[in-house]
Symmetry: none
Subunit: 133 residues, 4 copies
DNA sequence: GTGGTCTAGACCACC
DNA sequence: GTGGTCTAGACCACG
């Protein structure tokens, strides 16, 4: 499990962690029943304050993704996968709609938008495969 | 010129105004040389604090989109159109790439992403034309 | 609006605040649209760290009870009352069931339990009216 | 002697054991002079860390409910019954008062509270008898 | 070792 | 002035 934090994301650090954990659960990288890194451990890895991690984990518990096991740590809930997959898709759709809406409203032609979209996909795929392989 | 402010956008109000003015210039809705509403006027229209409008207009001046004319008000710069068009496209592209990157990294298949994208475009086109016409 | 914090409650301070705000909304003491004391103000009143208040308010936002108004403060959501009333009743019922279940399971006779319950009600009513009047 | 541990109780495991032993003594299920299961035995039965059982037994000794017999184990004190009965009743009363106080303070009408209470008793009696018989 | 809570104090953006 | 975020460091209960 490796998380990447981007301080310039605009999104709060704890929120980036929440999102990445949910995505990891949705994509199977983090399986139900598995242990998530301890608060202190992840804080050390990301060189972030433990409180920030704590806050992220707390929200993940409130969202039913993690469950605490007294004195052991935090485990991925067995019921979380479906919700995470659904949420991920809903989130992507929502953000796509927002971008598309603003672009169209701002006078970008739909066909130009499709071109830009394809360019994005290709770029990300290149970057992703290049980075992964 | 009508702007729409969404308090729940997450984006700051003054930023929404800046963006919408630039989009309006890019799409020709706001032509070079035209006058932009006064701070007080727009603040009244949007029921927003005048300071907020002031801040948006300052940013637009700093970005070279508006220029002050002594005793008259603020006019759209004649040189601003090209920059606004470029910026709009760059902005859309940047946001698209971000969404696409996160989706792919989160395990969404490219084809699923295309489906979601097309759904967004159709939805926005429907909503947009319905709302406008 | 006056909140009372009991450090020996066992329940976390921020949780006591959350519960009291919800109860206040449920009972109409805190009306929809009203402003809630600012983070710093309430922290000063209760001589508690602002972060603790902040955390309580954040959870109340997550629960849809409060909504932030940029630069103004936090207001009680207009849709929150029904949910708060229902939650209050559900919570009371849940806790009653828990106490009753443990008592019965622990060998307390139902009639003795009723006596204890009536004694509690009378005591609280006395205390409440005495305190209020 | 069978104890039931509920990890989601909120109450610490060792505390659940302490309470259940006291209740058992109060209701006569566990008679004075009887032996209580050894730390290891009970830990195995409940699949709980032996340290946790140890802690519960220590607390019970401190409360004068159990007494150690060299080389034999822990026995229920002959003087413990009265204290356990009194403590059980006091505990139930205390918790009832707390729930009632919060409910009334939160705006629940006393008569509504009585209805909720009776509903709880009936539900628990049903569940209890159904489960026991 | 684990998570949970709290304090103290700082910085930011927004209105 | 407002809320939002983060750091630093402390203490606690639990296993």
């Amino acid at each position: 499990m490796i998380f990447r934090i981007d301080a310039d994301d605009g999104l709060a650090i704890y929120d980036q962690i929440v999102r990445q954990v949910k995505y990891a659960v949705a994509s199977g990288t983090l399986a139900p029943g598995e242990w998530i890194p301890s608060v202190r451990e992840l804080a050390r890895q990301l060189t972030v304050n433990p409180n920030t991690i704590q806050r992220a984990y707390q929200q993940l518990q409130a969202d039913g993704v993690l469950e605490p096991v007294r004195g052991r740590g935090l485990a991925v809930c067995r019921t979380a996968v479906r919700a995470c997959v659904a949420e991920r898709q809903a989130l992507v759709l929502e953000r796509l709609e927002q971008v598309v809406a603003e672009a169209v409203q701002g006078g970008v032609a739909p066909d130009d938008l499709r071109t830009l979209f394809e360019r994005s996909v290709r770029k990300v795929m290149r970057g992703g495969t290049a980075e992964a392989g």
